[in-house]
Subunit: 491 residues, 2 copies
């Protein structure tokens, strides 16, 4: 099945919008029967990993669940496009066995044969940095220790590699002293350590931090970089291992589909895709969700997994508290781009790059070999507003070529920033946001619960955080409603 999402440009062709094969497209798009239940137990808005894991948990426990999704596919900010026999992860991609919520699911479903996107490399075997206005190729023997030392200095906020300030990475506010680090930007932190860094260390650090944040260093909260570091075992090797090495060979959409299929197999799941909810009304007895087409559904509880950056578009009745409205009105700053390119030959299979501020592309690297025998490169870049898709592809290709010579065959991407259902990629908080607003984002509003990777405690913005949140919301519903009892069927 093909999704309407994503952009695909084949050399010398116009941009193709959508029509990309994706295992997460569900057809027919709804299984709501003409005669519906009057009231569901739970309505879940959003079929990303937060919504899917909530739906799965609640269906397993015997609740009658209605899953409503505005897209034509599962996965939210995570989906897999299959183009000419090759899988491209358009959003969330990498997972690790130390990410407890997602790996528990992978292990449970048997997705334990992983793909190491760095393994078995052959090719040019060097790294390109953009230093003082021009690209420079550097051996990994030189680059590795530079990145390692730069991150160690950047993250050593306590003489103990960050361990004292964030001793429990899944409990980020545990130490009140952490607040002082939450208030500064990544740029301010770089200024604090700049004198200790060599030129190479400074430029590679800046490139990687930009790639992590997807935004300007001045807008990026330093604390979120420090959290990634702590979650990754307080090490640069850990950052690679946890955040950009291991993939599910079958693709994320297949994995998401497995979770959906399990929920479906319980017989307790109804769903409707292509269904955009615009208002949520809590009558205190039931919650009513109304879609753009004016259709309404009711349930005893509602779980919203709507991402932070579009949450203020939803009309709530009764209105949200001032604290919640305030939190919803400040967007997270993860607004970068992730772009795939297929480039001629295999030389760049072992290439990687990091650049900031002189290039739109923050980082890139070889991610695999396509069936045509070419190299699949993945880039993280800034967004360039005001370009149409054709211009955007051309611009990104030109920026990639500024970093390194390459013959580009294909460009494939999803414009997450202009996607009205996300308006951003993974969640990164601006400085001073987390201590003020995180608890508020996580709080319920009457019978409405909020679950999203955007306010997970641990791997915020990751698949792991989405599942953490979906699990939490499902537990809260069970606490409210109690377990439905199975009535023995008459024989």
């Amino acid at each position: 099945m093909a999704t309407r999402e994503g952009y695909y440009v084949r050399r010398d062709n116009p941009v193709q919008e959508g029509h990309l094969k994706c295992a997460g497209v569900i057809s027919p798009s709804s299984n709501i029967p003409s005669v519906t239940y009057d009231v569901f137990d739970v309505i879940i808005i959003g079929a990303g990993y937060a919504g899917l894991s909530s739906a799965r948990d609640l269906c397993l426990s015997g609740f009658k669940v209605l899953l409503l999704e505005a897209r034509d596919r599962l996965g939210g900010r995570t989906w897999t496009a299959e183009v000419e026999g090759h899988l491209y992860e358009m959003g969330g991609t990498w997972i690790y066995w130390g990410q407890p919520h997602v790996y528990r699911e992978m292990s449970r479903y048997g997705y334990t044969k992983l793909l190491d996107s760095n393994a078995d490399k052959v090719g040019c075997n060097y790294f390109t940095s953009w230093i003082n206005g021009k690209p420079r190729n550097i051996s990994y023997e030189e680059e590795g220790p530079a990145v390692e030392r730069a991150f160690e200095i950047f993250c050593d906020v306590d003489g103990n590699g960050g361990r004292r300030i964030i001793p429990y990475p899944h409990d980020p506010h545990f130490k009140p002293e952490a607040k002082q680090w939450e208030n500064i930007s990544a740029a301010q932190r770089i200024d604090q350590v700049r004198a200790k860094l060599s030129e190479l260390e400074l430029y590679t650090l800046q490139g990687f931090v930009a790639a992590i944040s997807g935004n300007d260093m001045n807008n990026t909260g330093f604390f979120d970089i420090l959290r990634w570091w702590a979650l990754s075992g307080y090490s640069t090797q850990g950052l690679y291992d946890y955040t950009e090495t291991y993939k599910i060979p079958e693709g994320q959409s297949r994995f998401a589909r497995t979770m959906f299929d399990e929920a479906l197999a319980t017989g307790n799941l109804k769903y409707a895709f292509d269904t955009l909810i615009t208002s949520i009304k809590d009558t205190s007895v039931t919650v009513e969700a109304t879609s753009t087409s004016g259709k309404s559904w009711s349930a005893r509880r509602l779980i919203s997994t709507i991402p932070l950056n579009i949450l203020n578009r939803i009309q709530f009745q009764p209105p949200l508290s001032p604290a919640k409205s305030a939190a919803h009105s400040i967007p997270h700053i993860g607004i970068g781009a992730k772009v795939h390119m297929e480039v001629q030959g295999t030389n760049l299979r072992t290439w990687s790059a990091a650049a900031w501020p002189d290039s739109r592309i923050f980082s890139g690297r070889g991610d695999g070999i396509t069936p045509a025998g070419n190299t699949h490169l993945v880039f993280f870049a800034g967004n360039q507003k005001g370009l149409n898709a054709q211009e955007d592809a051309r611009h990104m290709a030109a920026e990639a070529k500024k970093l390194h010579e390459m013959e580009i065959q294909k460009v494939i991407w999803h414009n997450w920033l202009e996607d009205p259902l996300s308006e951003g990629i993974w969640c990164m908080f601006p400085p001073g946001y987390s201590f003020d607003h995180l608890d508020t984002l996580r709080a319920r509003h009457g019978n409405v619960l909020f679950a999203s990777a955007d306010w997970a405690l641990g791997w915020r913005g990751f698949i792991d955080g989405a599942i953490e949140e979906g699990t939490r919301a499902a537990m809260a519903v069970v606490k409210d409603l109690g377990f439905p009892r199975r009535v023995a069927p008459a024989l």
Copy 2:
């Protein structure tokens, strides 16, 4: 509630057997009604974490589950004794957020405020090693790098810190080359690297390896030490973090109880403690479990979580395959002792030790301060056969005093080796066992499934591995039987 298990000696008093307060004791010991279901969906033997997680998962999904346990408490080889207001973990203890199966459960139940048993140390602040026949006190500044370097050399089997031989620690046999490392003992591996190690490095390494294995270096498979290393992120710091730093402040028995209580709340759980099963008969339609008292129960499937070292005591009908019988006939070699002592004062709060082969005690360290203001020390030691409990306590106390001066107020332990329901502590394989027998241990026998931390793929022998296995067994049952449908109750 008090359990009949465990030994407790207070200074100058005789050994007290049992009567230790434990949150895992369930009373009354059974909730099987006089009118029982003719046939359960699933019988689960054993209420350790494997059985508990299976039971919880299956109860949530609407299966009628019967949980049978020979002990008077939950938790199997993990339980918490409360003595004079202080918690002593008698078996499984430490958990980490990078252990996916257990941390997902902790996160789900809200057990996310952890206790760092190394934090906020004051006291003597040194390490004792037993070198060339006598104890030597060494500063942590000297000890830390020695242990780190020793483990790095010991585990560097591939010039890449073990990453090439075990690239996926949750998939231990992924590389066929791993087999060669599976065939050698820890002693043989030490011989291979001995020349590279300083005296201090050698002796501390031996002490820690002995503490990990609970047995003689010659009987210990090197591969299991290497697996712990890989699972811990291929680092010595990781070994500390993953395996001996973080505890659940409420105690493991409380956590186990939460899982049990959730299963119970579904209304689908029946249980009987004090019920030892001795034979399992598969009629191909149902499986029948019979207890020592001659009582029998039937179910469509049976999950055995009986530990490896006592599995060959069960009578199976039809008989097990020769491969399974062979695997069950070789015990794992984890037969060490874990012993708690309360010692006068707080000086030893920051003390630690490792010793082998000249001391019965392999390792020990401060683990907390008791309400009386004394130090709680935890030791790992070898087992000494032929001693009664009183002699055993005296012997362990004497061995501890050989390492360091201390005034011992209490000795508390569980003799896991002589416990007929375990005959060992955590699972450690002898050399040459894993590649030959692991798959066989994991295989089903008709309608009987086998789930135990003793044959987990990842954290084998850990709480995480037990939950991994319980999850796997529950999934297998669902695959066999399909989901029970909830029938809407008549209103």
